[in-house]
């Protein structure tokens, strides 16, 4: 029992520091209410590589690289690096892509929903309700015997592909060759110093690997097994970000305000905020974890999570190339239709991958 409490103390402490860091990163240069947004940061990476040409959201975010390196170091240090894969990779790729499409309709992942709420943006509540509803649907499938099949051992070389990809991205953002795309204005142009972003990512990657932190799993486990372990990390993250915003005077200075309208890098279309994040919550539940968790798992040698990350990047490219992503002006032209397609796809995967159906 004592071990249990120690681990719970760690996830609360880790979540709290993560929340504080997310707010501090905003102060150090990241976009307002976007201190850390895993979906947004993959979207920026897709843009930096020129996979989409939305000029305001292009940057190779070192936080993401830090997450992978932090998890890699932690996994090796604690002998948890396990090369594995082969559990329906192509389905994971597509679920990852649809996760991103849903998240970019809201303009944030389940982490940014908390960051936005902690910065007064009440649209975060709509988004969290969507995540919870999506997880609720996903649990129906889990209880019905849904799974994506067993993974097996793969070569260490395969398991190192994601860390090496991240190392390549790090070298690219350090040397900034001219063929890359870096935003001159908009959220993509707003970022903390490279080494600060990388260090924050490393730290978060390390604690997230240790504590198994997951921003969809926390909601799922409450409904699935009445387990509040992962949720305690979510709650601690939120309070860390909220307290830090007040401590920095972000509300009294007028940077942030409580409400739905005129929030930074956000829109207030409640229906599609809710349904976009329902898609995100459902697809993440079918995948077994949020994009942060997938990133951490990819650092531990899980190549299925690595494929999921590539799906996130592909989804971001589709989102901005085909007018699916929202902007502060509102939802994109084809965003709602694609969210519906994504929900239908996820439900079809849920039904067809139940053990009874197979």
């Amino acid at each position: 029992m004592s071990r249990f409490w120690i681990s719970r103390a760690w996830i609360i402490l880790g979540g709290f520091i993560f929340g504080v860091l997310a707010t501090l990163l905003t102060m150090w240069g990241n976009p307002p209410n976007m201190g850390i947004c895993v979906a947004c940061f993959y979207r920026d990476i897709a843009g930096g590589l020129g996979l989409h040409r939305a000029g305001v959201v292009q940057y190779l975010r070192p936080e993401i690289m830090g997450f992978v390196f932090g998890a890699l170091i932690s996994a090796y240090a604690f002998k948890e690096f396990r090369p594995r894969g082969g559990s329906s990779p192509i389905i994971r790729f597509l679920l990852g892509a649809f996760f991103m499409i849903g998240a970019l309709v809201f303009l944030g992942c389940p982490i940014r929903a908390l960051v936005r709420l902690a910065g007064g943006d009440l649209n975060g509540i709509t988004a969290l309700l969507g995540v919870i509803f999506g997880a609720f649907i996903g649990i129906r499938f889990l209880k019905g015997g849904y799974n994506l099949g067993r993974s097996g051992k793969v070569s260490t070389v395969s398991a190192w592909m994601v860390p090496l990809f991240m190392l390549t991205l790090l070298l690219l953002v350090i040397f900034k060759p001219h063929f890359l795309f870096f935003s001159q204005k908009g959220p993509g142009a707003m970022h903390a110093l490279l080494w600060i972003s990388l260090a924050a990512g490393l730290f978060v990657g390390f604690i997230a690997q240790r504590t198994r932190m997951c921003f969809v799993g926390g909601w799922r486990d409450i409904m699935l097994v009445k387990d509040f372990y992962l949720f305690s990390g979510i709650a601690a993250f939120f309070f860390g970000a909220l307290i830090c915003n007040y401590a920095l005077g972000n509300f009294s200075s007028g940077l942030y305000h409580w409400g739905f309208d005129n929030q930074p890098v956000a829109h207030a279309d409640h229906l599609w905020n809710f349904l976009g994040m329902t898609l995100a919550g459902l697809s993440a539940t079918l995948l077994g974890g949020c994009p942060l968790r997938q990133t951490i798992l990819a650092g531990e040698g899980d190549t299925d999570a690595g494929i999921t990350i590539l799906g996130l990047i592909a989804g971001a490219a589709f989102s901005h190339n085909f007018l699916l992503a929202s902007s502060p002006k509102g939802v994109g032209e084809f965003g709602p239709l694609t969210v519906i397609i994504g929900l239908v796809f996820s439900l079809a995967i849920g039904f067809s991958m139940m053990e009874r159906a197979r």
């Binding site: 948890e80 993974s151 486990d221």
Partner: protein, 73 residues
């Protein structure tokens, strides 16, 4: 003896399968074969919260067999 083999399944499938075995066989000892530390932690946490004592035995490499025994009521 009921044995649940969750090797190769990622979170949360090991927990779901163990929960199903517990629900279907109340008051019976269950063994669970896991192959990641995360699964071991998660299954152990579920079993403890459901009133089982948990003992573990290392099988090979990263594989563990967890013995879940219902506590006396």
């Amino acid at each position: 003896m009921i044995e649940v083999d969750v090797r190769g399944f990622s979170c949360p499938i090991p927990v779901v399968k163990t929960k199903k075995a517990i629900d279907e066989n109340p008051d019976e000892p269950i063994t669970v074969l896991v192959e990641t530390v995360v699964s071991k932690e998660n299954v152990g946490r579920l079993a403890s919260s459901r009133g089982y004592t948990v003992q573990e035995e290392k099988v090979a490499g990263d594989e563990y067999r967890l013995f879940l025994t219902p506590r006396e009521k």
